[in-house]
């Protein structure tokens, strides 16, 4: 265990932490503003990676895949937030989406039950779908949604439901192969300093996280929207009182969170791979970042990510038998002592 060992392990831990920052900061902001524990966040990460793969397959451009994937997932985030996590507005669209989903399922069920009846034909399948969807739409329109804005548990469970749907959706769209995002050749090399190899990609991840962190910080500190977000994190009721449109803030933050998670997915895709199940692997780690760093705090997320990255890395390198325990036990202790995390505000 010479210096070289410690240097490279610390470097590895920091670069892993950089990736975790991308995932964790979005989750942390969403929590801070909306008090929602978003269990779909891992799915955003995964979908970011898959969409990037599709973009690369279509255009061959890795650089293009990052913004496209991030924006696409941000749109998914907005749709989820507007249609399902907020109870007001978009009733028609929400009922429409759910109705369509139900319609497809009814059609699938009919196909499974009476294959001779509508077997194979897309037209028949479509007809059954449309009829069922319309029926479902009208049935749903008669039922008023029970708002979930103030119900922590129902929000969590709703995001779990979506996490399952996203997981199966990704499997059906992109298949179950273990895939990998290949970054440009420049990033596949290594930088050698003092006989130690520093993989360029890990350096890139650190640089990206620092850059994004800086931009986020500027947005939070210098823009009106940033100020509104900070005010809402501090005290949502007060923020509403002074005329901040917290509704818009929450939409912005949800989109931003999804955006960041997707960037994490593209970046992480070249480092962890993209495969089914990645979503639920990343989720607890993102939570560890948020919990340790403190909910709703950007600086906290950075420190939490660094702490988790290093703890995970050194835990696995030095105490493999209890490596996961060493990750989650500090989480428990921090929560028990300071429920809002190290840098979180009540």
């Amino acid at each position: 265990m010479n210096t070289q060992f410690w240097v490279i392990q610390a470097f590895n831990g920091v670069s892993y932490g950089a990736l975790l920052f991308l995932v964790g900061s979005g989750l942390s902001l969403i929590f801070g503003v909306m008090r929602i524990v978003n269990l779909s966040h891992g799915a955003y990460f995964l979908w970011g990676g898959y969409i990037a793969l599709s973009v690369i397959a279509a255009t061959g451009s890795w650089a293009l895949s990052i913004p496209v994937a991030a924006l696409a997932v941000a749109l998914i985030g907005i749709a989820m937030e507007r249609l399902f996590l907020r109870s007001e507005g978009f009733e028609y669209l929400r009922n429409g989406v759910i109705g369509l989903g139900l319609g497809v399922m009814v059609a699938l069920a009919v196909t499974a039950a009476w294959p001779h009846f509508i077997g194979g034909g897309w037209a028949q399948f479509g007809a059954v779908t449309v009829v069922a969807a319309i029926a479902a739409y009208f049935a749903l329109s008669r039922i008023s949604l029970v708002p979930i804005d103030n119900d922590v548990l129902r929000q969590v469970l709703l995001t779990v439901g979506f996490a399952f749907l996203f997981q199966q959706g990704a499997l059906d769209i992109w298949g179950g192969n273990n895939m990998d995002i290949t970054p440009p050749a420049v990033l596949s090399r290594s930088v050698v300093i003092g006989g130690i190899y520093f993989p360029a990609y890990r350096i890139f991840m650190i640089a990206l996280a620092v850059a994004i962190g800086a931009v986020l910080w500027l947005v939070m500190e210098r823009t009106r929207m940033g100020a509104a977000v900070r005010a809402t994190v501090d005290d949502a009721q007060m923020a509403r009182g002074v005329g901040i449109d917290t509704n818009r803030v929450s939409m912005f933050v949800f989109a931003l969170g999804a955006f960041l998670a997707a960037i994490g997915g593209v970046t992480g895709g070249a480092f962890l791979g993209i495969y089914p199940g990645l979503d639920f692997e990343m989720l607890p780690l993102a939570f560890a970042v948020v919990i340790i760093g403190g909910m709703g705090s950007l600086g906290g997320a950075a420190i939490g990510a660094l702490a988790v990255g290093l703890a995970d890395n050194f835990g696995k390198a030095l105490f493999p038998e209890v490596s996961y325990f060493t990750l989650y036990a500090p989480m428990v202790l921090i929560l028990a002592i300071k429920p809002t995390g190290l840098f979180g505000r009540e």
């Binding site: 392990q9 590895n12 179950g176 273990n178 895939m179 990998d180 890990r202 089914p276 890395n313």
Partner: protein, 420 residues
Amino acid sequence: MTSRLPRKLNPLLLGSALALGLSLASNAQAEELRIGFIAPVTGIFAQIGKDMTDGFQLYLDQHGGKLGGADVKFIVEDDQGKPDTGVIKAKKLILQDKVNMFIGGLLASTGYALAPVSTAEKTLYISSISSADDLTQRQLDKYPYFARTSWTSSQPEQPLGQWACDQGYKKVVTIAADYAFGYESVGGFQKVFEDCGGKVIQKIWPPLGTKDFGPYIPNIKADADAIFSLMVGPMALQFPKQLRAAGIKKPITAGGTSYDEFVLPFMGDEVIGDVSALHYSAAIETPANEAFVKAYRTKYGKVPSYYSENNYTTAMWLDEAMKQAGGKYPGPEKFIKIMEGIKLDAPRGPVRMDDMRNPIENVYIKKVEKKKMFGYDKAELWNTVIKTYPAVSQFWTYGKEKFLKQPVYSRDFPACKYCE
């Protein structure tokens, strides 16, 4: 009374009515060969499950849906990649669908979980992927209705140990997924390699599912001549990439799943030259294999993995056995007897069963190369066979008696004598 039924009761009543309905629905099927197939159709292993199913289905389709003259009812059940779900699905197949046999199971732990079901329900279970060593070794007596058409985990790694020794490697570091499959693979490699005079000087066990090898790679001892790796699934893609990026250029000899055709198409050029061992390679240059690869690729758009081949061969085995049984399923004991007597010329090469119902088959030492094969016009990564160990048994050259006296390969056996 019924009209005044309490409202809160309705869901419960509905439930029991449903249960009743289900019970009536499970009527007997018509006379035919009913085969249950257990594979992950959803969840994180879904694609492997698809490869498995596709391999079997391809053979069925090529033979008009019949095996040995009998119409086949092929029922795929989704175990979601979980052993306990596999058990319940096996029971569903046996109890409700009244299958003659069930096939499949991906993970070693699924194999260990399904074998007892075959004993309890007196139904034939053919393990077509799951490779847990002991099922056809020290524990075979417990499972009279069990046979295997695939491999044991240590079966290809034992010749690989010999091959590594023959290359002149003296010191090897092993890095393998921390679960039974990893233990058995490393154990087989280490035993033979050390019996030949080599030394395993370090064993690293990253947990199953590791993708960031950052904590482990810097630990690899600098004085090793080569690295033995055993990766599965997403791990396989990341390990060689991160190893090379960390500046370690040592040769890799690996367990089969680290480079098999399931992961190979998604790998980068840094894996060219890496060596692995398995009982199948899609690049075996025989007419039987070429035909299989082409048929499979035409139908499913991808090169078959060993998951596909093993199930294709399983179907071929059943076909032959049913032929010999005269097209009528003769019951598990008799059927296993027939299967034991069959010699096949499969895509993977000649294969037959030893007296512990595990295949004796070729083991291929393969090197990743980028080239064109079988007339495909694009240069791709292929597992070129560089050496064939013919007719390898699960006991390698040790002989059954001697082999079975040692404990099953594990994290601690063989002990790491040269680790400090």
